[in-house]
Symmetry: C2
Subunit: 231 residues, 2 copies
């Protein structure tokens, strides 16, 4: 969410898309890799299903609740920085005026060109503080009500993603049989997911699809090798 | 990394700290919860160690490689938006001048106060593009060389975090015995980690410590309940 809220011409992905992407890319990858890894180490599918569901629950809670608290603390950080700017605008206005000027000097403007803006801002304290928050500190006002929705979207996407690679292990009692179906459906799902993600975030969706599928394959391969080596 | 690069007065956490936090908070939580969950379902520790190491490998790769590619595509996004601004500054300069003015009008400034800045920027195309990237689009120039270091830091922190809850299962063959040691060391580690994280990112490290430990406990409790229910 680095875009300005009021000018959205270049806006390429909504907050919900972003949260689905965050949850689903890990949700498809990690449970898939864990299940594939355990296939190299255990003889029955139900242990893999148990481990997979435990991982999905843990991952969804860690990402969702972790994200929720991070968003809350970001909102608090913003509020405290805002109070600090407000204090500084009242108590050391000359230094703050100099900071406004410094922002513009960075773009090669002269003091004469800058001073009308500096003077105008210093007569409007609230706008001045808003200006400093965004242009000196680069902080956008967070939307605290988004934190809960964001956490739920991320957690739900993680669960939805994680159930795809796990489903074959619920249907086949032999893990080696289940593994091939799991690889099949998950690589297809990673590819489609990477493609849709790429449509929203880059100009090259096909490359995004291949990269996403490749990460899943590498993670699953590494987990399989480790599990086989120590089992 | 929403702070400006050149004015770091309010700068509170370095990029490395941020990457360690990202990797370690999930690394401590998910393998801990997975191992605790499996304790409710399997009779020997070595399956838990296998599943835990497979999860650590998968999680570290998904987070590290996923983060690396995300950083790369963010850098490409920045470059393509920059080319687009460059084209617009050349081809539709009047509209771009109006966009500069609109940024300032949002802060209650009048056209008379704004016009010196608009005129000055339009005579300096490179600074104008820089200005639009940051103040219209809110985009900071990414540092592509950071992508690889960032990925390695996140992955290493995930592995380091994940080995803490898993270590007791390597030492005790009975998972129920190992579980209590795992809970003990992990809650202490989460608490310390949350405290240090809170020192860097908030004004209330103790609350951060309690929240971090609580997320781990909730994730582990949920994983345990699910695994016990289906085993």
């Amino acid at each position: 969410m680095r875009h300005t809220p009021h000018i959205e011409r270049h806006f390429t992905s909504s907050a919900i898309v972003r949260d689905v992407v965050i949850g689903m890319s890990d949700g498809l990858t990690v449970p898939f890799a864990l299940a594939a890894g355990l296939t190299g180490a255990v003889a029955v599918s139900n242990i893999i299903v148990t481990a997979g569901l435990a991982e999905i629950a843990a991952g969804a809670i860690a990402m969702g609740l972790g994200g929720y608290l991070a968003a809350k603390s970001e909102a608090e950080h913003y509020a405290s920085e805002r109070r600090r700017e407000g204090r500084e605008v009242r108590e050391i206005p000359d230094e703050e005026r100099e900071e406004v000027a410094r922002v513009f000097r960075g773009y090669g403007l002269t003091n004469e060109q800058i001073s009308p803006v500096v003077e105008a801002l210093s007569s409007r304290p609230q706008d001045w503080i808003d200006f400093m928050m965004r242009f000196e500190l680069g902080l956008e006002e967070p939307q605290p009500e988004r934190a809960r929705n964001s956490a739920l979207t991320i957690a739900t996407s993680y669960v939805a993603g994680g159930l795809i690679p796990l489903a074959p292990y619920m249907l086949f009692s032999s893990p080696h049989e289940a593994l091939w179906f799991s690889i099949g459906v998950t690589i297809v799902a990673l590819f489609l997911f990477g493609y849709v993600k790429g449509k929203f975030t880059t100009a090259r969706p096909l490359r995004s699809a291949l990269q996403t599928a490749l990460i899943g394959a590498i993670a699953a391969g590494a987990a399989f090798l480790i599990a086989t080596a120590i089992a």
